[in-house]
């Protein structure tokens, strides 16, 4: 009966630890600037805090928060206010790069990969974010998105085909 009062500090720390992954997830969904992604992350964390009593301890906190983030993004997108911001992840690196040419080449490749991912339709970016980046299984991704597993597979299949085609043409992928 000695349960901590709001907010449970362990859960709060777990949420803080999730923020970097959540930013990456939101960045892939929004296909825009880091600030766009952070808007989604901030709103998701606020919703998570308000609804923390709805999370079942023992179930995956990350999956719960990612679902909140995606639902928020889908609702947000329906409101259709989105002027896409430009990809500014590279600018983050400019501050850190000290190995001249190698860094420049690597970041040019990375920029092309991000541009390729950003150009995918939203339903394909969903599965890229969950299966490629978060490394969920097809089944876990299907559960989170509320889709049949074959549909998740075909969306990722089409995403991979589009990415491979574009990146091969650009010489990023041999």
């Amino acid at each position: 009966m000695n349960r901590p009062m709001n907010p449970d500090e362990t859960t709060r720390q777990a949420l803080i630890a999730l923020i970097p992954r959540l930013r990456r997830f939101a960045r892939v969904l929004t296909a825009g600037s880091i600030a766009d992604a952070d808007d989604v992350v901030q709103a998701s964390l606020e919703k998570a805090m308000v609804n923390l009593d709805q999370w079942q301890p023992g179930t995956r906190l990350d999956a719960w928060v990612f679902r909140i983030a995606r639902n928020h993004w889908v609702d947000d997108r329906r409101r259709a206010h989105n002027a896409k911001g430009h990809d500014d992840i590279g600018e983050m690196l400019d501050l850190a790069g000290d190995d001249g040419v190698a860094v420049t080449e690597a970041s040019a490749d990375a920029r092309m990969v991000r541009a390729a991912v950003d150009s995918l339709p939203p339903e394909q970016r969903d599965v890229v974010a969950l299966v490629m980046l978060e490394e969920l299984s097809y089944r876990e991704a299907a559960d989170m998105l509320g889709l049949p597993i074959g549909t998740v597979m075909s969306r990722l299949s089409r995403a991979k085909a589009a990415l491979a085609k574009r990146l091969t043409a650009e010489g990023t992928l041999q």
């Binding site: 009966m1 000695n2 349960r3 901590p4 009062m5 709001n6 907010p7 709060r12 949420l15 923020i19 970097p20 992954r21 930013r23 990456r24 960045r27 880091i34 952070d38 992350v41 901030q42 709103a43 964390l45 606020e46 919703k47 805090m49 308000v50 609804n51 009593d53 709805q54 928020h72 609702d75 947000d76 992840i89 983050m92 690597a106 490749d109 990375a110 990969v113 991000r114 991912v117 890229v128 490629m132 980046l133 299984s137 097809y138 089944r139 597993i149 074959g150 549909t151 597979m153 075909s154 990722l156 299949s157 089409r158 995403a159 991979k160 085909a161 990415l163 491979a164 990146l167 992928l173």
Partner: protein, 261 residues
């Protein structure tokens, strides 16, 4: 027309090298319809060259410093739980009385220090709700005791779910009635005034009054998200969770228990 697919076809489907759109659709439909085929396809899933490239491209975000506004979204809510010890330590006579419905922003927290917890109770509903140790009839120890006769009456007699007009306090409604481990009768209730909702938990004391155990302002709904049922202030929900030691009392049971609180 259950088509059969070779492992090579399924593998090509998974890695994105299948170019026949019709075949992609056919395999998708077949997998969706056939759990055994889905399992076969899952077992064939393999790594590819693309995933590491994509992970590298977005990796900088994982290492980047987290903006303060994001961690701030997870900051503990100040003074959502009444800290009885802090209130006891405070000098109740120094408690400022809001002259009118000035709202929270008119008060600066630091200058009140330990009294903030009791102060916020009054401010949240726009007026003094409590009587502190400063008045002559205050209980020893400075517990927070409800000072509204209307609120007292609601807690003493109103069944759960019934809206009650609380005059200057707005409207109230008891949400939940239960007994705690000490056998005290406790009631979670909400107060609504000018569109703002607060939640509280009070337990009956031996002396027949109600002592506030937790109190919180309900967060304004974020964005357009519809909050599900259990959307009371988290501090109050947590307090109820920690204290509840009986099934919720409803109907005639609730009335009977109120009679012998």
């Amino acid at each position: 027309m259950s088509a059969t697919f070779t492992d090579a076809q399924l593998a090509a489907f998974l890695d994105g090298s299948l170019e026949d759109e019709g075949l992609i659709d056919a395999i998708e439909a077949a997998i969706n319809a056939d759990p055994a085929l889905a399992e076969r396809a899952e077992a064939l899933a393999a790594g590819d060259d693309l995933a590491p490239l994509v992970r590298d491209a977005f990796a900088p975000l994982l290492d980047a410093p987290v903006p303060e506004r994001l961690t701030a979204a997870l900051a503990p809510q100040p003074a959502e739980v009444i800290d009885l010890a802090a209130v006891r330590a405070a000098q109740p006579s120094a408690l400022p009385t809001p002259a009118n419905d000035t709202g929270r922003s008119a008060w600066r927290w630091p200058q009140f220090g330990a009294m903030a917890a009791s102060l916020v109770l009054g401010l949240m509903i726009g007026g003094p709700l409590l009587k502190g140790g400063g008045s002559a009839d205050a209980p020893q120890g400075g517990e927070l005791v409800l000072a509204s006769a209307d609120l007292d009456a609601m807690l003493n007699a109103a069944p759960s779910g019934q809206r009650t007009d609380l005059a200057a306090l707005g409207e109230g409604e008891v949400v939940l009635t239960f007994r705690n481990a000490d056998g005290q009768l406790c009631r979670q209730f909400l107060l609504e005034k000018s569109g703002a909702t607060s939640d509280a938990l009070a337990c009956a004391t031996g002396g027949g009054s109600w002592q506030v155990e937790a109190f919180g302002r309900r967060p304004a709904p974020a964005g357009e998200m519809k909050l599900a049922g259990g959307d009371a202030a988290p501090a109050v929900v947590a307090a109820v969770d920690a204290m509840i030691d009986s099934d919720p009392l409803v109907g005639t049971d609730e009335m009977a228990e109120l009679g012998k609180k």
